[in-house]
Symmetry: D2
Subunit: 335 residues, 4 copies
């Protein structure tokens, strides 16, 4: 039994807590939140868990071996750092930190202390992404030409980060997971509709050496909720529609091939309109998989799927995208 | 009765022809297409219309008073110019021409000769766009914050233009029609997946002085067909989903307002999740409206809704977008 | 070239006419409709076709070899009878006639005169039904347990027939086509909301010897349009959703099997939730296929797919269903 | 604080438990289930609640004032009876009992002992049904002509009841809630595909004195999940689609009116195709409302919304429908 403390019981905290509580290998000792009404909420559901007001009561508790950090982004670095230094394993909510500098520092710390440090990129544990990964790795899709992701709805404005840190982080983690290639450069354009200056609409474009392109449309001010990713491959195309209750992944035997390109004036294209196939995907709650991966990584000293490399790479792209937004869409090179 | 000749009987020509044939004020005398199988097709449906092989047989026919040009984009300028000079009224398929220079030249010609010159921006004649225009003009939506348009499917690659000239032209005509404001600058990024070099995926962003932003996502290589435009206003938001058979326009009493912006650290936002309203829209075929507008403009010497100004403005933005694509997303000023 | 005359240019007539006009083997000489405005409509689209006011001008024209009857149901028998007696081949709109007596009389006449007599059960010529037929015949679905069809919308009230003669006729033709088995009995319940007494809502249930059951829900007074048929087989299940623009046929590898039925108290059921498969279906207009089948049947003296047997069987079930409605759902045996 | 015991921790028990736990007025003392793995499940989530193996440990516990019965249908009567006799308030899962005789006996007992007896007809507490009730009561819909409900999916076969007791119970409770009128008679047809003889497909029709009709289609063997109720009124029509994540209730200003019925041969119908309106509905979890209604009824001695009359009426219709199925769709009078 691993004793765990959870920092933050806001929007996502209850889900994290429920999954740690349900996992047979974890025992949730304490949950911290500085808002009394949130602590009340916790106590009504779990009278046996101690509700504390400060993160310190978890970070300094020697009886706690693992910490889940589900507090605002700007606190991730400090809490994760203190937890690691106190000898605890750490799971931190996405995005991992506010900067790649911070992320690198945490990685170094985790490595030197031999502790697990993982990021909650929940989507990597969905049955849908697992199935798509399987198809991509098996070569079913062919070479990927493009990703086109849309993640929009009337969402909560985050006080400390803009919409790309909140929403695009999901798509970036999925794209990085599905392909080995890393973007060469990023361009982004955003728009703030409040005087806070935090963008609530943004468009990202990732350029890849291979010619692949990724486009991500994120918004907190859309009247409709869309959660969709198109993946265009040379052999097949995938639509991942996360709003669909069951038929989330559709594989289209659809596409085009260039017949003969010799003569530029005569563009001869063969279109393929074939069958569509909707594979059954595993319907387990993704968070349960993430929590179990945390457990297995602690127990067996293995790398979790959503490891710190993944966390760092996402933060690097977000950082570059934020810079590009400031400079009005300038192409920002990565490395 | 106005005698009309139609140049081009390819993908769109049959629709144009059917609507001119059905209009009581027009008599279709000739349709031109250089492909014998297209002429056969025409003759099987309309044995009473003369099928000719060359545009010249229409342009030089003194018995024809009006010409509809439905041939490839690169031919628009030449045919429209010849038709105007031959004293004919002209309706030209969108986009009006390959360059703003050409468009301006045609406009000057039409003005000096006193002939009607209009562009087939079909969407301006749909019941959906008419209804949205009515709502916007009545102030129901408030100030528009953003447009977000998606027009993607596995479409035909055009041989002479890229995907923005083919698809974004539609969204630009609608956006220009709905708002008085004209974009200050354009940024665009595109990707070609064939050696023709013509982009088959592109993302456009239009910047406006007022802070409004427009994003347009167009693609010929999507497995699914999406025809959607989101319009975010300060009072209400609209979703125009053209795939829906009947409920195409949805008005959301949904949005947010900033409660107090004094303290940047405390972002106080009020969310509004109200009713949704789906107005009945006129279901007439849009092309019938366009053809009738052409007729009324000739008869009453009035400006058509989809006039040459509209045609020119769309071409100007496309031109700038094409330049931006070449320069990798550089912001290109308009005017 | 077969000369054809079309009787009726109301709702369906224009579609029939367009398809006969486009078929290279037919020449449409005359179209009859007693409403002057319908004849005007015809003439504006097809100036070369003669618009006549009475069916007789077609039935007595010795230059016409084939007749399409697209007039109200109560006229089918008389017109078809006269046409056959005048030595013409006949295609009659569904339902074939108002009674099985009438249908049998027409069949006898056609047989004795050696003329083609077919019914326009258009759905048999859709790519969707062709694909489902192929799957059923190949044993992919297993033994069929049930059909469940819904065909509802705010539709036109027919003056001379109730909703089952208008709408259920479609589903019955499809069900009869897909399975060799014929229903043993019919039960039906209907409701009229006008004093005409013609039912505008009705529910039909067909019982089969094998245990198969079919349920058909038809309505002219539904706010939404539904065109759906579920087919439950022991191996797979099919959803045929005709509203979907492209993905009309979905095959579900879903179902249940009874593990052990020995002990009634312990019902052990194995559920199967597998993949879904959407086959590409032929997108040709169904009416074009029907018209071509008429042509081939005349030319090659073969039985059309939608032959008079099919027409008669549908009429028989409708007749029994109408009787059942009158007797409040009593089970009416068929033969 | 009311101490509560919950009998049954199977499919629905965890939801009931969670809502009692979250309610500030209830304290869950014990949950009973005879399956050890279910008790383990409970203990992992709520270590502070006592998991017991038998209902008796709850029924005979003097410290428990209220009991929620979430066990199989055939046990409802016995457990509710014992609980009432032990002086406890009772909430019983739908359907209330296996027969109207049993339901009447429980009602008498509750009345004589002055205890609350309510049925968990959860749907009455959904924001959707609340909104529809409001609209119907305000006369917005006009006189209701028909209900048409579909509740189908690949569902669990219940061991002790057929599909109508499981699924149609929901629709019957909603229909009874929305209208004052009670059905005059019932007809039902069902089909069993296992040798247990329990019907897994069934169609119910309710006849009303006023001419209103209700049709209910329920199935455990459908490949797709449908949860839809159409309500046709003389002024407006409603579609309640419970699968939709947010836009569950749509009100159509759509319909028809009979212009003049004098001459039966000339059916003159006026069609109305107006706007559609999607009201915002309260998104609270329905079960929370039901649990709170139980609490308020105990505290204030008021009638709960989903009271025993409602429970009895649903059982009466189910009983009649079961009889009708046995007699092949015979019309069974109610009262």
């Amino acid at each position: 039994m691993i004793n765990v403390g959870i920092i933050g019981y806001g929007y996502w905290g209850p889900n994290i807590t429920r999954n740690f509580v349900s996992h047979p290998g974890f025992q949730v000792l304490k949950v911290a939140d500085n808002r009394p009404e949130r602590r009340e909420k916790l106590k009504s559901l779990y009278p046996h868990i101690e509700a504390v007001a400060t993160a310190e009561e978890i970070l300094h508790d020697p009886g706690i071996q693992a910490v889940a950090i589900v507090s605002p982004v700007f606190t991730h670095y400090q809490f994760a750092r203190e937890a690691l230094k106190a000898g605890k394993h750490v799971m931190v909510e996405k995005p991992m930190s506010r900067s790649s500098m911070e992320a690198l520092d945490l990685i170094n710390l985790a490595q030197s202390l031999g502790k697990v440090l993982m990021v909650d990129h929940t989507f990597l544990y969905t049955g849908s992404v697992e199935k798509i990964k399987e198809l991509v790795d098996a070569g079913e899709i062919g070479k990927i030409d493009y990703f086109d992701a849309t993640r929009i709805n009337l969402g909560l404005f985050q006080p400390d980060v803009n919409v790309i840190w909140d929403l695009a982080a999901h798509d970036l983690s999925v794209i990085n997971y599905l392909t080995q290639e890393r973007p060469r450069s990023v361009q982004a354009i955003g728009k703030a509709h409040t005087s806070s200056g935090q963008e609530n609409i943004a468009y990202l474009i990732l350029h890849y050496e291979s010619g692949m392109i990724a486009h991500i449309n994120v918004s907190w001010v859309s009247p409709v909720k869309v959660r969709q990713m198109l993946i265009g491959g040379t052999r097949k195309m995938i639509v991942f529609n996360d709003i669909e209750p069951t038929e989330k992944v559709k594989i289209y035997d659809k596409g085009f091939s260039v017949k003969s390109d010799e003569d530029k004036d005569k563009l001869l294209i063969d279109y393929r309109h074939g069958d569509v196939y909707i594979p059954k995907v595993h319907m387990r709650e993704a968070l349960a998989g993430m929590v179990d991966d945390f457990y297995q990584s602690i127990k067996s000293d293995k790398e979790p799927r959503s490891d710190y490399h993944s966390g760092l790479e996402v933060v690097r792209i977000l950082e570059a995208a934020e810079l590009s937004i400031k400079e009005n869409g300038r192409e920002v090179k990565l490395n």
